[in-house]
């Protein structure tokens, strides 16, 4: 079942490549494929019974200790569901029209396969293959359908993240060599952590893996590929980049680094916490100074992902209260899901601006609430969701992270991190005021109301964020056991 979920989009992509479909019809094939995939994921969710579910383990490269090993648990399942939903809504969003729809749809379907593959992989080599292919796919999305200085942005994105993934590969090889017997299998590595005899050699491996994932997350100061890539990517590409691809970094930290290198993770927990705090404050402050809407949202991603790094760092504070640490990890996973929904919605909304006015500069707009009340309402809701207003997923995530981090004993780090939510509030209110309120600006006249396809793509994301924000138990019940398991793994 899981294998079908992973490769169904790829099969649809080949279908698109084989037959000469019309543009509009290609989009509908795309929607149908992603919708079926989402239904399958929902069925998988309903059929999930704890532990590693829907597991498949086949021989692949036995000589290298690598196999085709996929499965889901309480951390990967919500992310796979979020990925499937976001790709479906990107398809719906593209109904409003796009250039070369056939290859566009095929590329996104390819990206969907590799994204779900990353979250499902339980083998490091398999993980790495999907992880690297996601970079390739996104490169072509930016260079083929982007705008502005897209070639340069795409190249920066590709080289930077590719370099990061090479460092990651070194770390994976380190894990392979450190394990007895040598293996790339993640469940075996977690059950029997490498370097248990020689903790000294675990440090360089952790550094390599951390740096590799830090580039993708991104963590300050390895984040500068992100703003240009977002600014010049098409709206759906930005939504996928922020919503799905960034999660691969933090997911990798939680899935790979934490369970396989527990001793090193504990030893460097304070360093990781500090990196998280710096990242989230820096991201928020730099976002506050941006004049370009898309760059601004890109920097808020740095802020939001910083909370996740902070929480994962706090998970390694073995002296702290176990329940508080579990709360922080639950918050981190919730943040991955919630950020995907809300930032995905925000980037899709920026696409409205580019579509209508070919500009993102805040000060060229103003008073849009008069032209486009629904667009204004959607953006306002997304902005408040992103700034962590209770009632939306962001609060559920950030409250758990902050309370968990402070409860685990990192009071100063928690107190500093709390400042981030104030800065985020200030920057989103600034955006709302400059763009939507007050008198009309230079380009305001061009901004018309959202179209049905745009509304249909954005509204479900925000509605889901609202549902998680008000009644989160159905999601947290899934995440809590895996958070407890992760904390137990890292405490060894």
């Amino acid at each position: 079942m899981l294998t079908i979920v992973i490769f169904l989009p790829l099969a649809a992509a080949t279908l698109l490549a084989l037959r000469g479909l019309g543009g509009r019809r290609a989009i509908w094939v795309w929607i149908a494929a992603t919708a079926v995939d989402l239904i399958l994921v929902a069925a998988m969710w309903l059929g999930y019974r704890g532990g590693i579910g829907h597991e498949t383990r086949l021989r692949w490269i036995p000589s290298a200790g690598a196999g085709y090993h996929v499965g889901v648990d309480g951390m990967s399942l919500p992310l796979i569901a979020m990925t499937a939903l976001l790709f479906l809504l990107c398809a719906v969003y593209s109904l409003r029209g796009t250039e070369r729809p056939r290859s566009y749809a095929a590329l996104f379907l390819f990206l969907q396969t590799v994204s779900i593959g990353v979250f499902a992989a339980l083998d490091l080599l398999l993980f790495f293959v999907f992880f690297d292919l996601s970079i390739v796919g996104m490169y072509f999305v930016i260079v083929g359908w982007g705008h502005g200085d897209r070639a340069r942005s795409a190249l920066t994105f590709f080289l930077y993240t590719f370099l990061g993934s090479l460092v990651l590969l070194l770390g994976f090889i380190g894990l392979f060599l450190g394990a007895e017997p040598h293996t790339f299998d993640l469940t075996d590595l977690a059950a029997n952590p490498p370097f248990s005899g020689s903790p000294g050699s675990a440090a360089p491996v952790l550094i390599a893996i951390f740096v590799g994932f830090a580039v993708k997350t991104p963590v300050v100061p390895l984040h500068t590929w992100l703003p240009p890539a977002h600014t010049d990517a098409p709206a759906a590409g930005s939504a996928v980049l922020a919503g799905v691809l960034l999660k691969m970094g933090t997911y990798g930290l939680a899935r790979i680094a934490l369970p396989t290198l527990p001793v090193a993770w504990q030893r460097y927990a304070w360093v990781i916490i500090a990196i998280g705090v710096v990242s989230l404050l820096y991201g928020a402050l730099v976002a506050l100074a941006q004049e370009n809407l898309k760059r601004l949202i890109a920097y808020t991603s740095v802020n939001h992902m910083g909370y996740i790094v902070l929480a994962l760092g706090a998970a390694g504070l073995v002296a702290g209260d176990v329940r508080a640490r579990e709360l922080a990890v639950t918050g981190a996973v919730t943040q991955m899901v919630g950020h995907g929904l809300v930032t995905g919605a925000l980037f899709l909304l920026t696409g409205v601006f580019w579509d209508r006015a070919r500009a993102y500069e805040l000060n060229r707009f103003g008073g849009i609430a008069a032209n486009a009340p629904i667009l204004t309402a959607l953006t306002a809701v997304a902005a408040f969701a992103s700034l962590g207003l209770p009632g939306f997923s962001g609060f559920i995530a950030e409250f758990q992270i902050l309370a968990g981090v402070i409860g685990a004993g990192a009071v100063v780090a928690g107190a500093l991190a709390v400042l981030g939510i104030l800065i985020t509030a200030a920057l989103f209110l600034r955006v709302l005021r400059k763009v939507f309120l007050g008198g009309p600006g230079e380009l305001t006249g061009r901004v018309t109301e959202v179209r049905p396809a745009e509304l249909a793509a954005v509204a479900p994301l925000l509605a889901l964020s609202l549902i998680i924000g008000i009644a989160p138990r159905w999601l947290l019940d899934l995440i809590d056991p895996v958070a407890a398991a992760l904390v137990a793994l890292v405490s060894r």
Partner: protein, 658 residues
Amino acid sequence: MNGLLWVLPGLPAVSGALLLIAHLVPSRRHDGGAEPYGEPARGRSGWASGKGGAHGEPAAGRRPGGLLRGAREGLAGPVAVLVAVVTLLVAVLVAVDRPRADTVLFDGLRSGLAVDGLSAVMVVTVAAVALAVLAFAAGEARDARFFGLMLLFTAAMLVTVTAADLALLLMAWEVMGAMSYALIGYRWHDAEHARSADLAFVTTRAGDLGLYLAAGCALAGTGSLSLAALPAAGSPWAHLIAAGIVVAALGKSAQLPFSFWLSRAMAGPSAVSALLHSATMVAAGAYLLLRVEPLLAATGWAATLVAWAGALTALLLGAVALAQRDLKQLLAASTCAQVGFMVLAAGVAAVAGGVAHLVAHAAVKSLLFLCAGVWLTTLGTEDLVRLRGAARRHPVTGVTFGIGAAALAGLPPLSLWVTKDAVLASVHPPALRVVAFAATLLAAAYATKALIVVWRPGAPAPPQPGKRPGEGPLGWAPLAALALAAAGFGVVGVPVVFDGWAGLLGVPAERGPGAAELAVSGGLAVVVAGLVLAVRRRGVRPLGVDLWWGPARWFGLERVARTAVARPVMALAGALARFDDRVIDGAVHGAARAVTRAAGIARTPVETGIDGVVRAVAAGAGRLGTLARRPQTGQAHLYLAQAAIGLALLAVVIALVR
């Protein structure tokens, strides 16, 4: 019955959300904040002067498709009133029944709503004031956006006062802040109003950070988020929790040093102020402090800090109120000052007195703001000078405003006279007592000032044509009900009633206001009121100093916050953004350029060098080949000659070697 407790906030929340959606759905083109009554946008003298405000907005248009929309917008008011009526009924039911509703929000941490004595009083107060304000606003025929936001605002306050744990409390607390943002920025066409809304939200959220910190520390200190468990927290944690809660409460209640946001909050319609200044928002901070009074007392310093913060706010913001020349600004400052008494009550463990003051003040202040809104709409001015005689022109508003203002002044036998003394009765440190008592005298002065101005004979500003709010039953009934409460709630001070009140709240019996104290404070209030009357008669303006740091400008608090906090943060943000672009991104691109240059070096000297050697070798070999070809002529005689030379050389060599 437990399910009913979720209905209490759920009903207004869901109806509010539906009204907001209904506001968006029917028409593609709408005109946002255009109000039928066009209450002119105004605010503190200075920043709003010269702005057209709401008058410059497009009128409520009847564009194509607007008819259906008009009907829906017209229904919004009655729907909201109906919801408020049902909410009040539910509030009374839960106040009697005291149910408890538990749920789990976060793993292993119980959350829930619970109604104890304090919550029972609060839910009824909130629901009643909300009903009065919404009924009055329905008479003004505002749009669905207004009613939707007001209902959500009320729902958030209802959760705040019934939440049994920090997580739910914080959720409601912040949602209330967001709704206040939307209501203050209701007339968003004016960028200045949007700025005021920003300022209010960011300032109150700065305080809210304390609650996040408190929640984390509660988790560490007590292993739960329960409010009831807080006093049991261990040594470092109890102090941190108290500090966080105090900061959050002072921010929400606009106490010093956060008071300035309430001045800017006046950008919202008067009906918003009537709710925001009375039973919700600013009351939430006082409520929270009264709720956690045992924790404050347990830490020692927190109770003292809170008592002084309240007393000083009552005093200094009383001076600010007295110095205002604008009715709404006067009322806003008086709100800070009056809430100061409630905060003081939390600091001196006068919970029964503090809650009584909260309830009485809620009635008084919503009444005063509703009346001010009527004059603002009909006369188009807020300026105290131009409001001369306004009360004579509108007898209903005039009389009810008079009752409210007299109560605010602490004149006997009205409510605040008694409730304020109920708080003061528990204030023991002499210095604190002096400050608090001086604050009550200032209250008498500023309230009398407002009262005199509107009742003084004179020609008020010409009425705006065609604007008639405050008329009809929806106009006068809420005012009358609020005036009745403002006048009569003082019975709570009768000793037997006061003990019963403390019993209702479930707090230990307090001393309550003594007869002698009441006589002295009532007498002094009358004297001060008389003095103000006399001074006014002579036309002397008290406190005419108009420096930026003076009371007329709210002691420049906003300016200080801007210069000391906002600007440095913005400067830091700008500096970091430049650092990000030039240094970090510069380093990355520099590294990329360095690699390109290294590649260039590898090409030009290195690669071409190696290539040159290879080529040279090849060329040399070729040349040698050419040379080697030379002898190969194909002519036998030459070959013979070459062989002869070769043999001769060989012979020479052999001969030499030998």
